[in-house]
Symmetry: D3
Subunit: 318 residues, 6 copies
């Protein structure tokens, strides 16, 4: 079965794919006909596709996020690969495939990631900090298992947010060993809390963000997380003016470093400075890794990556 | 009695003033002597002063924020006017003067301003919005009677914050009449709440800010006010996800308009756009008015005003 | 009769509309056919439309800015609504419709706006300032009745410029009452003069700007208005170096506040600072109001508004 | 006689100098004494100086811009050379010196520069363009012989403005030969007019700018020159809307290239683009030349030059 | 024979052209057919074209960079002119045309330009500087005869790089006469070396850049040229730490003036400042000249030019 | 013996210190006397000091970078602590102190750091990359043992550069384990080479930078290192166009990430992206650690740190 990533111009192929997007449109002809404008996807990527001469039965058979068996041909349209679908049917149980095989996912299983995060949370020694972290995590609990970390910027796939947290916790652990003056409790808490309101900010399904929520647009995940810390402290009877609460608030509020990047204050504690750099390092290197992995091995250059100064990445031959 | 604003080079004068700053220093001579490095102030301005040959009794007699009777001479030192104090004694009850006469104040009495603000609050028809505003106001209640709105930027004097609110409420009332699509409840609430956490952000006495508080530095008044709204809603049993709460949060968070000016989100409701412009208009025009009023009538140009693109203001002769 | 704003996908409709744009094009087929690429408009908005199989008679019958009766169907083309016109004829006198019913207009009648502006001009007490304002207004007199204030930015419709002036005069009147140190003569003059050269800068018809003029491109409306003040002073025998002339020049030149926004000098008089903020407040709030009014009530969000930090506006449900 | 440029630490010297600045100040001692805080200058540079124990007669004898004979010692004060004056007397006729020998001047005689400019003006073939140039030049005629081109930025000395114009005319002549599509009339006119209002913008004496004028601050030399062109066209009965007038206006208005550098429009004609680059090239290279010439030969690096990206210039040893 | 520049909508024409781009595509129809998506070019410009119903023989006959005889019709497609080719055949020897007639070229013959550059190189008096220049020129020798100076920015045609150098050498010669303190050897060398690595940075054929090279992307022409100077000095046994080598390195590294424009250091020698301004003046004026020459005489405005602040240029009628 | 860091106002103390700066100055009195303007330092910090009434013998006894025994008193001068030295003598051998005890140093011994760096270099498996690294390291060998990494920005002390490298190698090792797609050879090489030309760029003694060198100013350490790689490849007969050489060049050139921060190209390989983030993380966290360590424990806030967005760091009390 051919993976999306391996499809080349003029390929004649058959395989199972996800209907990531499906829209009924009309041709531009004098007597317009219905056709499907489709985005076919699997875990290796996605491609635009057309399914011409759509019958009214077709319109009731196929729907967005359904799995299908497709026979098609690849051609170039406006400099881009596109699929012309010759035959298509919905997948059935006998095909033995499942939805999650067809979406981009973190390379580590979601339950392992959650486990890592929970262990880190449980290892926080200060009981008040631990309580605040637990409260905030509980607000998104189920979503943490599958939410992406962003719409397109980085870790934009199933369990991307948990993967981002887990990797950052590894860097944080290393840094606390290398520089013992850093407070491990604060840093762990900061890593878990810094993007904790992203599942509230975005509306996502299977790792794909369709939109931002109303509170996401009017407040943003940084201010949302800040109010959650307040809420947690009130619910757990923790002094709102304590340095612990201030320290957590400060890490969350400052982790984008600059006002023009969304942080109303700049990092002014050791852990806040560390958090910003751990976040940047993990996000940027993941962009590099994902760009290289979703580009065919034969291509020396990835497409441009917006978060990497809008530059493509070159695959060194060494 | 000569006012600070009217002192000129070579003036020989006597008067009552406030010791706004007082520090014991040593002369630069081979056998250093103690002297007082002083800032003398009254409601019209302030000037640097030196009191030489300080005795040990003097050091116990004079202190910062005390009122004194001074005889002195004005001279130029490094391009600036400076006072050489020849005689000085503490003011006594018989002098019949009071501290508040010697500090810069809003031009309207503090209790009138508070009255205006409370009336506006009480006129809010939505009971939940009113409850949130009341809760937040109650957190700073006494401070609202005398806090400045900023350290130096604008309204930096006794009751400056309340004066700023009261004036903005006037503009808001006008705008709601001119453009009835604006929601008056939201706009009143936004005006009262937008700077409500400034007394928490800054440490001030008699309208003079000496420093920012720890929470002021680590969170800033915008995020502080945002968490207060959350706290208020929790305490008053108001739904945290309601549009009312979001609308208030959004106005507070966006009122500086841009990320580089401290707002993590940009205005996206009619009332948030209005609030930003009311705030800017009142702050900037007050800077103009204050600059002109504290510059001697004989001077055509005020000093540069940082908030006005770092430009001085010209007093038109018309 | 269905208004543009209310047309939905798959609607089959009949109505009168303005041919805001009309171009003859050829289909992409091997033997290309002529068709009309059209923008249909009424006072509530505009939509793209196609009229296929155009005859040579059609090409002589229909023209831009003509009124037509249309029967058509709405469909989606590239994510946007588009009209397929099945039948179309020019409107005739018996249809009882007039052009001005089909264009976007200020919500107040043009003659009322002109009246407001003239009254404000006549109320200027300084005869020289009044003479300069009168001279400049007379340069654009007829155009003032119908010109928009901008191509797309704000008040981009019939009589938009006069509406902008009239509203600003209201805010100016309020501000002069609230802050009596402002000179009402200068502020009224500044409000009337600040955009007075826009009808020279832009080429517009029925409130729609088709292009900028040569002098608009090479000088811009700010510098044009500045030279008009000079011309007015020369023609009225007013001293070019007087503070009055300088004060008016300064307000016009500085009203965009910053160099990068087109102002060669920054506001340095009280009235210039006030003018800039009155202009900004009126323009931005009008953008909000217009965006909300041209978005269907059922939509919670307007499209993004370029002048509002490129953000959409949310319609609060309160 | 030792020139300022050649004075070194610990030098004991005698010479004639200009009292470029002189201020009576008081020592910081318990019984303060008067002293002169002085800037001594000659054509090669300037140095701070102190003259202690000033008598009341001294105060009547010495004044700013007077010539004096000085005996003094050079020492270092706060990392900078400073002169301690031991003896000083006013210059008398018998000394045979004249003021202009003691100020920084363009390296070409003022009357030669004026001659060059007038010849260029007279060589303009279009009579209307020539008339406008002549009118504007006549507005500053006498000042053109001695005004500097700026306060400190570049050509900040006696006849600096005329020198800047004359050099630019040379570059312009070369460019018109190299690229014949440039209109020589327009370019000559643009060069002469682009800074023509600087003598109105600044208040200067002997090539030294003491301040900006009121119209300089409220309008700036670019907008002033633009209104002069309008005035000239009116007085000479030239059509204000002609391309000639627009072309001249455009060159003047756009010659700073960007809004943040003071130009309300950007260059959009060939001659306007050329003018901007001729202006930049001459100003920057003159900054380099002047910095090298006023730095002692023994110093490899000049002080930083603000207009050259705030960098110093290195004197290559080649 | 009609030149591209003169083709108008509805023109029916025959002529010889270059197939600057040619791609086989499929129509969007249900049974797609092959067609050629073509860019036709001659020395005056280029236009998109379609050749429908392509046979398999056609696919073997026509290729990119071939010369063809074309019969076609011009029409408007999406606001742009496009050619529908009715007949097309490859050019044959008997047609008497040559490839170089059909590409945009510098207006001076390539061998003349090379001659100018070599003479300038040979006139350098310092033998070490001359040797370094000769070494670097020899690295690109053949390419110097035909490479453009940029992909699109300026001098983007056959021999554009040599033309840019030759013109800059003329300005440099003028400047060294006008300002004798400039070192002519350094300036000549800087002009020849500043863009010398562009043929290594870009992949070009017939003056058309198709892409940047790997070293062009990873190092850029500025750093490449810097390493060439090092290589040259090593190969010619010149002291790497000498001021000559440093002076050349500095000119090359700083010629873009600012970090955001690609220069890691800012100009700090007289010749480096001069080089930057000569480069800017020549590049910008060439953009103006080229924009005017490739715009039909009848058009008053050129398209916008990215390098000229994204503005179009107006053709003055004088 | 009191350390500099622990000196408080009014302290009367005796101790050994380094004369980090010493200058002979004259008092401002009518008959000026010589005094020493001194900066006293030890490994914990530095303070300004005055030594009055300097004899001619004193001038021959004391010199910059000498060790002295000092008796003095601390007082406040212009808001800052300053020392008045009552007695001072040069340290003698019998005092048993050595220079390196008195300067700020990396917290790890220089030879250990060098050892770490050499081991990393030796562990590079690719022999060509190893050869280039070895060649470049050999150019600075002795200086690597003691040079700082910057003048003031970060790691500005004895062996600061080697410490920066060693710490970055630790982070690099961790990252290569966490993300195995990174090439360890390239990353190690990039870490060792990225700042390798700093000892050429700066002039330093005992970890204190007094100035930048000529090549430092005219080329900068980034371009210097780039030419060293070229030199190394030539000397070691390695192909200049190989991907290895390009990959190393690219990492060095891009490690400041943006043009405005000095990098002529932006990171476009995985290892270049990693290098930038490792560099930033180590530099910024070291700034935090150093700021906290040089601030008295009793102070909750450090002074502002320029490299940390010009913010101070708060010492959390947790």
């Amino acid at each position: 079965m051919t993976q999306i990533k391996d499809l080349r111009n003029q390929d004649d192929f058959t395989g199972f794919y996800l209907l990531k997007e499906l829209e009924v449109k009309q041709t531009n002809a004098t007597t317009p006909k219905d056709y499907f404008d489709i985005v076919l996807a699997d875990s290796t990527g996605q491609l635009g596709a057309k399914f011409w001469d759509v019958s009214s039965q077709d319109k009731e058979t196929f729907f967005t996020m359904g799995l299908v068996k497709v026979q098609g041909i690849v051609h170039l349209y406006r400099e881009k690969l596109q699929i012309k679908i010759s035959r298509m049917r919905p997948a059935v149980e006998a095909d033995g495939i499942t939805l999650t095989d067809f979406i981009r996912s973190a390379p580590v299983a979601s339950n392992e990631l959650i486990d890592t995060i929970y262990k880190a949370k449980d290892s926080i020694q200060d009981t008040e900090i631990k309580a605040i972290v637990a409260y905030c995590v509980s607000k998104v609990e189920e979503k943490l298992t599958h939410y992406p970390a962003a719409k397109t910027h980085h870790h934009a796939y199933f369990a991307g947010l948990a993967y981002h947290m887990a990797r950052m916790l590894e860097i944080g652990e290393f840094l606390c060993k290398q520089r013992p003056f850093l407070n491990a409790d604060l840093l762990k808490a900061g890593i878990i809390l810094h993007d904790i309101a992203k599942p509230e900010e975005m509306i996502a399904q299977l790792g794909i963000v369709s939109d931002y929520s109303l509170s996401g647009k009017l407040m943003g995940h940084i201010s949302l997380a800040s109010t959650w810390i307040t809420e947690a402290a009130i619910r757990c009877n923790i002094n709102l003016d304590s340095e612990k609460v201030l320290g957590l608030q400060h890490m969350v509020l400052s982790h984008h470093n600059l006002g023009e990047w969304g942080s109303p204050v700049q990092p002014q504690t050791a852990e806040a400075v560390a958090l910003h750099h751990i976040d940047a390092m993990d996000a940027k290197l993941q962009m590099v890794e994902d760009a290289l992995q979703t580009t065919p091995e034969s291509e020396p250059w990835t497409p441009v990556v917006r978060g990497l100064e809008n530059k493509p990445i070159y695959r060194m031959k060494l």
